[in-house]
Symmetry: C3
Subunit: 147 residues, 3 copies
Amino acid sequence: MQQELLASLPLRLYAICALLLALKMMAVALATGSLRMRRRVFASPEDYRFQGLDASAQRDPAIERARRAHRNDLENVLPFLAVAPLYALSGASDAGAWLCFAGFTTARILHTIFYLTGAMPHRTVAYAIGFFLTLWMIVSSAWSLLR
Amino acid sequence: MQQELLASLPLRLYAICALLLALKMMAVALATGSLRMRRRVFASPEDYRFQGLDASAQRDPAIERARRAHRNDLENVLPFLAVAPLYALSGASDAGAWLCFAGFTTARILHTIFYLTGAMPHRTVAYAIGFFLTLWMIVSSAWSLLR
Amino acid sequence: MQQELLASLPLRLYAICALLLALKMMAVALATGSLRMRRRVFASPEDYRFQGLDASAQRDPAIERARRAHRNDLENVLPFLAVAPLYALSGASDAGAWLCFAGFTTARILHTIFYLTGAMPHRTVAYAIGFFLTLWMIVSSAWSLLR
């Protein structure tokens, strides 16, 4: 029965996009960790002790940037992971699923690249595309569920 | 088969509440963005450059408040979006689903309003209602799954 | 039909681990709230007024530590809650589900304990185990879905 669930194109596409988005978020975590090691700026005093360094309260602009990109993912990618399967289950067309899921995933991968490189207004455009695709999925699912 | 999944009242109600809660979180994001434009306080130096302003390190209390409300949603609404479908799937009654899903959604919408307007102890009461409904869903689902 | 969904061992195990992880995140929230009351350090000015205290801008190291542990959960546990059901639905073996779900849950419970007690490198080891189990679930699910 489970295999059946992922047999429909919208849910299968959702699954692939969700895996890609989770991978992308892990890449941001790796980038933050690697910056912390190279810049030797950590969040907790025991991290400095473990590296044999004096605790420092300084903040690094590149690390703070990666953390903002990560938080933006928490605020946008995680709600997508709840909304998108409901959109798929409430009778999305294959074309709608392609547009919303592949579109959102592309927009969010670009958003991270634009955030980490400080590219404006590109970052805002990528954010807005993800935002409006999520909004569209919510409205469209609610319409299917409530009519 | 998918349509079947959302045909049961608890899962259908979950879907509608999840869409509402995602919409509510997006409203907080919009409020933060709109405050940033009006107060001209941004998170990244390239945002200041894009607006033709000098980068400023100042923090705005209203923006920080909206960000706290948003983070509180990440900490509470997102776990609900994982716990509630398990509660629905583990044999919730229609009445239980109504109480938990509509109750949580109402509590969290009020929580945001109370947070943004600084209404205490109302904010803490709304938070506690959401917290205990989540706790109840966890205990009740675990009971169904493990007995 | 829903009962059927949670009848398979991988999904049933996912459900129990997801409930445990949500409970663990709520415990961190309780720890933060309890520290705030004892240390009398709050996030919003109305909280100080409600306690009859003067607003203070000070930060408490123990509270900031609990908040970092909580944010680390948002960044790692929440993506797990989206990835793990896809891993279960894409044909995980019972042994794979046991290893990944029970392993991840144990690693994240230990991660919180190590974070709150400042135990290094234990915290990083627990983090890495959760990270690689998530990565393994993503790769393994994508392989099943795309081949």
